[in-house]
């Protein structure tokens, strides 16, 4: 147990309310979206005393208004995952601050949701138990948590697989359970670390559509979506940020002007999409080549 978790119980976001009361409260007035400020953060890692420290992120400053879907793209090793860890509070930055709704993030906050790249479902718990976990941690009674989890599993289309263990589900299904498990406690900011990169292309497109639909339904929260797939980034988000090769610095910030609702299977044929893709790729390509230390590819005539 090298990670020491020092969490005083803290005020539960539910304050002991029953789920029915919470839904009623939320239906009346959704909580005000919080502003996410990433203020000049630098993240340095020192894997062992013998090896030199390396800087994963350098002087990154981003301001994200509440309710915006932001994608972060960049070459491998540019610090995208490190950025998410810093924002979530799992690994606070070496220098600089992350503020959520004005408050500095120093440790894991209950209103943050994180969907990891690898499969993080507990393998010794069924799908239903996995989804109900977050609610149990926050003090909901077992029966109420189970009912709510059942609802969410049905919502992601896995109502028939409540009692299956993760090893009995396919990769796409496990991802959907992970999404349900995160959204069940209605986080006000959603962090996603290349969630669909392990899936095949068709499943990926369908999952992206499903995610956007869910996102619209549950209230349009702030999303920070890390991916290496530029098409996915532009197709899903309102804003695309480009990070340089390590040490990661912000080198591009583009607004995506496509109308919603979008279908990822069709949006890539849109004219605006293609222009945006070319513009951002021009930035990204240099960084990708730099990261892989290769010479520029010969360009075909434009």
């Amino acid at each position: 147990m090298t990670e020491t978790v020092d969490r005083s119980p803290g005020p539960s976001p539910y304050n002991g309310e029953r789920p029915a009361a919470i839904s009623a409260r939320r239906a009346g007035a959704a909580p005000a979206p919080k502003l996410l400020e990433i203020d000049n953060i630098t993240q340095v890692f020192r894997p062992s005393p013998k090896r030199p420290a390396f800087t994963a992120l350098k002087d990154v400053t981003i301001t994200i208004p509440g309710g915006q879907f932001v994608s972060v793209v960049g070459p491998t090793g540019c610090g995208k995952s490190t950025l998410l860890s810093a924002v979530s509070g799992l690994v606070p930055p070496h220098a600089g601050q992350v503020r959520l709704g004005g408050q500095t993030v120093t440790d894991v906050r209950p209103e943050v949701g994180f969907i990891f790249q690898q499969d993080a479902l507990l393998p010794w718990r069924t799908a239903l138990q996995n989804v109900a976990l977050a609610l149990r941690f926050r003090g909901t009674r077992r029966k109420d948590a189970r009912d709510r989890a059942r609802l969410w599993l049905a919502r992601v289309g896995l109502g028939a697989f409540e009692n299956s263990y993760p090893h009995q589900l396919s990769g796409g299904m496990r991802k959907r359970v992970a999404i349900a498990a995160t959204l069940v406690y209605e986080p006000s900011i959603l962090l996603m670390d290349e969630p669909f990169s392990a899936l095949d292309v068709q499943t990926r497109n369908l999952m992206e559509n499903d995610l956007l639909k869910l996102w619209q339904e549950i209230g349009h929260q702030t999303v920070l979506f890390v991916t290496h797939d530029l098409e996915e980034a532009i197709g899903m988000s309102d804003r695309v940020l480009v990070l340089t090769a390590g040490p990661g610095q912000l080198c591009g910030d583009y607004l995506v002007d496509l109308p919603r609702p979008r279908s990822l299977l069709e949006v890539k044929f849109d004219e605006t999409f293609r222009e945006l893709y070319q513009t951002i790729w021009a930035d990204l390509e240099g960084e990708v080549l730099k990261a892989s230390k290769r010479d520029p590819l010969p360009t075909s005539s434009k």
Binding site: L122, F137, Y185
Partner: protein, 298 residues
């Protein structure tokens, strides 16, 4: 459309079919050209062949044993015969044998079980303690490595010296042997818990108490269940060996006595009884293990 194997509308084979039949191609009756003999019961043929071979081998081995055992007095003194061993097993089972009874088996299994439980409990406790702090783990690791390398069974006389030649000394000896086995397994098990699960559970809002309950405990239970099978067989072996050395009851004592009076029947019979018991316990544990680790792929 007519072709091989079909009949025309009237129900009589037409000229093309007659030609085919004459040439040996196709048939109106089903094709039995390949031998597909099925046994009256549901065992497929190949399996039956293997089974017959296995039974035949067993019979041959037993036959050789019986022959050698009855061929001369000296041989009978050394290896006995299957018939005598069977008689002894029957006497043992019905409780009428003077050398060995169910209570002996019970004592041996009790020593094994008691030592196993004690060893696993202490193993879990110390493994949790050692993995809770990195420095503690580093501090303890050379000592653990040295003691792990010692052949535990060689320590049996030491336990008899310290605790005396009684029931407790055997339980403690078994516990000590099992402790090292389970401590190491569980310690590595705890340290190998994927940090991904820890991070994810933290994000979902777990405090330390929940973390232990939801991530560490199921992991430990899983590892214990898996190492239980090995621990059980090892415990029985240790119990029997410590009884060989000094005891006044138990299956190991029975075998030791018989060896002292050159009675191969009871030696072989006693070993067989211990083996059967170990086999049954192993099967039971496999069932239990499957229940507790149903979430693993194996």
């Amino acid at each position: 459309m007519s072709g091989p194997g079909t009949t025309s509308v009237e129900g009589r084979p037409d000229s093309s079919q007659v030609e085919d039949l004459a040439a040996g191609r196709g048939a109106i009756a089903p094709d039995r050209s390949r031998s597909r003999w099925r046994t009256p019961w549901r065992i497929p043929r190949r399996r039956l062949a293997i089974l017959s071979g296995q039974v035949a081998l067993a019979i041959i081995v037993l036959g050789i044993w019986q022959y050698v055992g009855t061929s001369s007095q000296t041989e009978a003194l050394v290896i006995s015969t299957p018939w005598h061993v069977a008689q002894y097993l029957w006497d043992f089972a019905s409780g009428s044998s003077e050398q060995g009874s169910w209570s002996d088996l019970r004592v041996t299994l009790q020593e094994a079980a008691g030592g196993c439980v004690l060893g696993v409990a202490v193993g879990i406790a110390l493994a949790v303690l050692a993995s809770s702090s990195r420095w503690l783990g580093l501090f303890a690791s050379p000592f653990v490595a040295v003691v792990n390398a010692l052949p535990k069974i060689a320590l049996a006389p030491l336990f008899i010296l310290i605790f005396g030649a009684n029931y407790q000394s055997k339980v403690y000896f078994v516990a000590a042997a099992i402790f090292f086995l389970s401590f190491y397994n569980i310690y590595t098990g705890i340290r190998s818990i994927d940090t991904l699960y820890l991070r994810n559970t933290r994000i979902l809002g777990a405090n330390r108490r929940w973390l232990v309950r939801e991530v560490y405990l199921p992991s430990i239970v899983g590892w214990v269940a898996i190492s239980l099978r090995l621990s059980a067989t090892y415990a029985i072996v240790c119990a029997v060996i410590s009884e060989y050395l000094s005891a006044n009851q138990g299956m190991g004592y029975v075998v030791y006595l018989a060896q002292g009076v050159n009675d191969p029947t009871v030696v072989i019979g006693g070993i067989l009884i211990i083996s059967f018991a170990a086999l049954i316990i192993d099967r039971v544990i496999v069932r239990v293990q499957r229940h507790f680790t149903s979430w693993r792929l194996r």
